[in-house]
Amino acid sequence: MTLDAYRHVKSGGGKLKFRARAIRAEQGEDGAFEAAVLLREAARAEERALRLLQAPDVETRLGAAVERCGCLVGARAPNAASLAWGEVLNESDAASPEIVRTYRQKLDPAYDALQRAFRRAIDASPVLKAARLRWAYVADQASARAELEALVAQFPGDFDLAYMLYQAGVFTRDHRAAWAALAKARQLEPENYVAWGAELLLAPRVLPLSKAEAHLEAAYSQLRRLRGDVDADSFLCFAVASLLLAGASKQPKTHHARALEAAELGVSARSDLFDSKPDLRVARDLAADLVAGRPPSINAFYRAGRGKLVDAAPAKDRNDPVRIFTGSFAYGGHALPSAA
């Protein structure tokens, strides 16, 4: 059964690679993003297939690492490829030099060429380079955006660049551009929970009310289904989005109740990579007040050790704890994730 599942998953990845190749052949650069999405899914299939084997031998592990890295090279995703390259190097240590040479014959020059092209492209992007590829540090946003768009065109499969384009949109209050960039980033890494959280936060600001509510409804089902495997950050983003949406919805109590449920689940989540639990405690206390029909208390911030959010809030928001809280998530400041 395990071997059958391996064969099936691996075969599915092979078909994605073949389809991507045809798209590149028939559409050229116009199909580059579509092909990249398929290749990144093929890379994940290689990884999933390998996990299905109980004790894969060194050749199988190295072969999977080579194909996975190769898919990311083909997708022109230099950041993800560099992560996968580490696996190629690690698996190569255990294999014979002859196997390493045979398996990496095509990959090594292609990987080197991609990384050289990426470094050249960064060198040709002085504003982004000066900001160390972090949008929050960018000095000249217009120039940086032009540089970033050129990089995204050159490396269409790179999640980090697509995500930075989303951040650029949020920082410049161009929420529609941010949404479009985030949609592409999500296609490249559908399981990246940081991008999922960003999408939840942006949906109430971009989508019409009915669509935003449908979006959160789907996310609510997903969170309940995955609850044990979800990082606290995803619960936090959902809770914030629910509080935002409640302000516009005809059914605010539903959203308050869901914000409370997500915050409670988040506070007890096993994984908390972004130290989200203090904010989740704020969300929980605010939502609990709203569900109970009480005015939300500013004390929620101080009880959770987040009093500095009150000080940093715009003067007009200081008497509205929910606005203080949701407003603190308006700038898309998540660190760049590195999932491949």
Partner: protein
């Protein structure tokens, strides 16, 4: 006056016509859907002198290092039948044939996969391609079981004839022979014009 190709076919005594629409039955649709347009494009392009049925002289070596037999493999197709499987196939093939796809170098590559699928269907009857490797050999896998992979390494040149085919074989053979994790490998090598091919077992 009898052409040289006709003399070869008569000398070989083996001839086979394969209709491309049959490929949708013999192989998984996922492979066929994207390779047939390129294959029809290659066979219809002006550089390979359109003529249907298109006949390839195929040197077939069914056992490693064994005897070679020559097969006259004629490829024929009914565009209307192909369109039942892929309504866009005519336009896709035309774009390949006219060189209007963005990357012309992909034409022989994608067509080569189509030709290899035909070769597997004709010369390894009952076998189906199940997987594709992009970064290690062989390209098309008949079985992707770890440690016992079986497959077909593919190469196609738009021109060059026997010399091009043999050159590719000599280039690919040593590495494939060295590969200890492969249980079975075939080489499927093609020249678009003159239309010649080798399909040889190189392992075990």
């Amino acid at each position: 006056m009898t052409s040289l190709g006709e003399k070869r076919r008569r000398a070989a005594g083996r001839a086979r016509t394969y209709r491309l629409e049959q490929l949708y039955q013999d192989q998984d649709r996922d492979w066929v859907f994207d390779s047939v347009p390129a294959l029809v494009g290659l066979l219809s392009s002006s550089s390979t002198k359109r003529r249907q049925p298109c006949s390839f002289d195929v040197d077939h070596m069914p056992t490693t290092g064994g005897a070679t037999t020559r097969l006259a493999l004629s490829l024929d197709w009914d565009m209307a039948a192909l369109e039942l499987q892929d309504p866009a196939v005519r336009e896709r093939a035309r774009r390949y044939a006219s060189g209007r796809t963005p990357h012309r170098e992909h034409l022989p590559e994608m067509a080569g996969y189509g030709l290899a699928l035909v070769a597997v269907s004709v010369l390894l009857p009952g076998q189906r391609v199940v997987d594709m490797e992009q970064w290690r050999s062989p390209d098309l896998l008949l079985d992707n079981t770890p440690g016992a992979r079986r497959g077909v390494e593919v190469a196609c040149r738009t021109s060059g004839g026997w010399a091009a085919v043999r050159s590719v074989r000599l280039d690919k053979l040593p590495a494939l022979a060295r590969e200890k994790t492969l249980a079975e490998v075939h080489l499927s090598l093609w020249s678009g014009w003159p239309r010649v091919s080798e399909f040889c077992k190189v392992k075990p």
